[in-house]
Chain length 415, copies 2
C-alpha cells in the first residue's frame, strides 16, 4: 500500500474551516488506498505572534525557552486536525514532535537527526492517519527543539524519509514551482517537473516555495517531492532526481532566478600574488559572513590587481569593518562598496553540457546594454551580477529568449 | 534552605507586563534565600479560546486530542516566564509537564500520579528557578494529559508534595479566603488562617478561590498552602492542618458559605420501611448524579413517609427521569421538584465541640422568618436548605450573628 506524507502550511491551517478542507484532502488520499501521515504548520500568523511575545519578554532570549514557546503553535493545529479527521469517520491521532523526532544542534535552528519510525509504522500499518506538528522535535538534552523558520518542510521530508514514504506532498499557497517570479514576468509558466539541483538553485536565489534544507534532504534521501496548491485541485510540480517522460522534452533551462540580496565590495590595487584572495576571504568566513561571487582581475604587468566579491546585503557593514580593520595586512589602495546590485541566474540541467547557453545569456543581456559586473557558473547555473535597477528587465528578456514564456497569460497560470 | 512553590493564575500571566511583575515576585523570593519552583496557568482567556477551537473542530472530540490542543497555553507562559527571569539575571529554566508529571485516569480530567522529583531536585539545589506549566502531565500511554479546568492548583500542590516543598503559595486575583462572598456581604473579612477541612467546605460550596482537589491533596500531604494576591502586597490566608498562634483565638466559625447550585426532589407517600432510601438513591448514583441532603420523614403510625433530597441543579431533569422510570418499583403517591432552593452553611472547626453553634444558626434564621427545608450537619459544617430568594439575607444575618463582620468596610478588604 503506498505510503505518503502530506504537509500543509500555515495559510491552509488558518482557522477551523480551512482545517476542515485540509481534512477532506487527507480523507481523499486515505480513501484512495494510501497510508497517510500529515505534517502541519501553525495557523498563519501564530508563530509570528509567539515570536513577538518572546521578543517583548526578553530581547535577547534563551533559544531553548524560545523553542518551548513557539513549538506550541503546531501542537494546537495537530490536535485540531486529528479531531477533525476523527469527526469525518477516519481513524486518526496526533503524535508530538518530542515523541518521535530527535533533533540536534542549536536550539531555535536544530537539525533532524532521527525519526522514531516504529511507532509511526505501527499506526500507519493499522490504517491510522498520523498527524504530526512540523518544525519541532526533542533535543539530545530531552528538551523541545525547533528547526528554524519554515522548518515544517524539513520535518515533513525527514519524517517521510524515516517512514520510507513513497513521496512527500507539500501543500502550499502557490500551486507549484514557476519558471520565474510571476510578479516580474506575468507569463511565467508552472513547471511540471524540476530536478532537486534546479530546485535548490531556484530556491536558494529567491523562489521561496520550499525551505532550501528540505530540498537538500529530499535529494540526499532520493525522496520525490511534490509542490501543490492547498486550495485548488491542480497538478503541481514534481521535484525529482532525474527528469523523466515528458520532462525529458522540457526546455534545457528550468527557470530564471532573481536575487536582490547582494552587495558588492571591491578592493583596488591589491597585490597580484597567490594568497591575496584567501587573505581577504578567510577573515570574512571567520566572522560568519557568507560570500558569493569572487573576481580577481590583474592589471597586466603591474603586479597589481582589483578584487571584487559579493556578500549578503545585510552583512555589508560588518564585512566592511572586518576589511578596514585588516587594511595594513592586506594592503590595498581603494575600498569600494555598492549595495545597488542584484544577481540574475539561468538554472537548468542542460547547462552542464551546453556552453552555448551561457554565451546566449551574455549576448541577450548585452543586446539590452546590461553591463555584467561579475559572472559565476556552476554545473546547472550561470549567474550574472548586474545593477539592481536592471534586474527586472534582465529577468524578462532572458525568460523570453530561453523560450520560457507561456503562450498566453491563462496558460501561464494553469500549465 | 527553604523550598517553596509559587503558583500564578491566568489573570497574573495575561501579557508580558504582568509576567514581568510575576517575575519580580519570584525574584524577591529567590533573593530572600528560597529555592523556588513556579507553576503557571495559561494567559487569561487562552484556555477558553483553545477549548472553543476544539468545539468548532468537532463537537464530540477525542479528549486525548483536546489535551494536545489545550495543554499548549501553559507551555507558552512557562517559556515566557523562564526567559523573563533570565533577563532579570536569575538562573531559570522551564520543564514541560510531559518531562516530569505522570498522570493517569481519563484524558481531559486526569489525576497526578507521581512527579519526577530527581530532575527538579537537581535544578533547585543548583539554585535554578524551575518553571512548570500547570494543568498537565504525561499519561501512562505516553501522551499529553490535562487535569481538568483549574487543574493548575492541583499541579502546584502535587509538584510541591513531590519535591517536599515547605509550602505552596497560590497567587490569584483575590487576596485571600474571606469569611463569605464579599459581593453578598461587603463587610466580609479576610481570614488569616483557615484549616484544610474548613477550606474544603468553603470551596466545595461556592468560595471558588482554589480547586477543591488541590485542597484535598494538600491536606493528605500535610502541605501548608497560602492564598495571596498576585497584584498587591498583602499577607493572604494560610491554609493549615491546625490553627496555631493567633489563629487559635480566631472566631469558632470560619465563614458562611452560600451555594445556589441546588435543586430539591420530594417523593411523597413512600413506604416507611428500611431500604426505601437506598432504593431511590442507588439508581441516581448509578447514573452518576451526585446527591447531597437527604431527609426521610415518616408520618407517625401510617407506615407512609416523605423522602426529600437535593441534587445539583444541572442534574435535576436527569434525576427526575431516572425516578419516573422506576416509579413502579419505588412506589410513591407524589413526585415534586423545586429548583428555587439554595444552601447556606456555617463552617468552622469549632462546630465539632459546640452544639450551641447549630442551635444559634437555626435561631437566627427563625428570627428572620427563614424556613428550613432541610438540614444537614458534619463535623465542621451545618447546612440549611432554604428558599433561594432568602439566601442573601440568610448569609448576611448569620455573618453578623457569628461576629464575622469587619469593624468597617476598609478593614474588611484589607485585614
Amino acid at each position: 500500500m503506498p505510503r505518503i506524507v502530506m504537509k500543509f502550511g500555515g495559510t491552509s491551517m488558518a482557522g477551523i474551516e480551512r482545517i476542515r478542507s485540509v481534512a477532506q484532502r487527507v480523507q481523499r488520499e486515505a480513501h484512495a488506498g494510501n497510508q497517510v501521515l500529515v505534517v502541519v504548520s501553525a495557523m498563519a500568523g501564530e508563530t509570528d505572534r509567539l515570536v513577538q511575545l518572546c521578543r517583548e519578554a526578553a530581547p535577547l532570549h534563551d533559544p531553548t525557552e524560545y523553542d518551548v514557546v513557539v513549538a506550541s503553535g503546531e501542537q494546537v493545529t495537530a490536535g485540531l486536525l486529528a479531531m477533525t479527521l476523527q469527526a469525518m469517520g477516519l481513524v486518526a491521532r496526533s503524535f508530538m514532535g518530542w515523541q518521535l523526532v530527535r533533533a540536534s544542534g542549536i536550539h531555535g535552528n536544530a537539525r533532524v537527526e532521527a525519526v522514531e519510525a516504529a511507532m509511526l509504522d505501527e499506526a500507519l500499518t493499522a490504517g491510522t492517519v498520523a498527524v504530526i506538528p512540523g518544525f519541532q522535535g526533542v533535543s539530545t538534552d530531552g528538551r523541545l527543539a525547533t528547526l528554524g523558520r519554515g522548518g515544517s518542510d524539513t520535518s515533513a521530508v525527514a519524517i517521510a524519509a524515516g517512514v520510507k514514504a513513497d513521496r512527500c506532498d507539500i501543500y502550499t499557497d502557490v500551486d507549484g514551482v514557476y519558471t520565474t517570479d510571476p510578479r516580474i514576468v506575468p507569463r511565467a509558466r508552472k513547471l511540471d517537473q524540476v530536478t532537486f539541483e534546479e530546485m535548490l538553485e531556484l530556491a536558494g536565489v529567491g523562489a521561496k516555495v520550499l525551505q532550501v534544507r528540505s530540498v537538500g534532504l529530499a535529494m540526499r534521501e532520493n525522496l520525490p517531492l511534490r509542490v501543490l496548491s492547498a486550495f485548488e485541485d491542480l497538478p503541481g510540480t514534481d521535484i525529482v532526481a532525474e527528469l523523466s517522460g515528458d520532462g525529458m522534452e522540457r526546455n534545457l533551462i528550468a527557470g530564471i532566478a532573481a536575487d536582490r540580496n547582494e552587495a558588492r565590495i571591491t578592493l583596488t590595487g591589491v597585490s597580484d600574488k597567490p594568497g591575496t584572495v584567501a587573505q581577504v576571504i578567510k577573515p570574512l568566513a571567520d566572522a560568519g559572513i557568507a560570500f558569493d561571487m569572487i573576481v580577481h582581475a590583474a592589471t597586466p604587468n603591474t603586479g597589481s590587481s582589483d578584487l571584487t566579491f559579493t556578500v549578503p546585503r545585510a552583512s555589508l557593514a560588518q564585512a566592511m569593518a572586518v576589511i578596514e580593520k585588516l587594511s595594513k595586512e592586506i594592503g590595498y589602495t581603494g575600498l569600494l562598496h555598492d549595495d545597488a546590485v542584484a544577481k540574475v541566474s539561468i538554472v537548468g540541467v542542460g547547462i552542464r553540457s551546453n556552453p552555448q547557453l551561457a554565451a546566449k545569456m551574455f549576448e541577450v543581456l548585452a543586446e539590452r546594454q546590461i553591463n555584467l559586473l561579475a559572472v559565476s557558473t556552476s554545473e546547472i547555473k550561470v549567474s550574472a551580477l548586474i545593477a539592481e535597477p536592471e534586474l527586472e528587465l534582465a529577468v524578462r528578456v532572458l525568460h523570453t529568449a530561453f523560450g520560457l514564456d507561456a503562450a498566453n497569460l491563462n496558460e501561464g497560470r494553469a500549465a
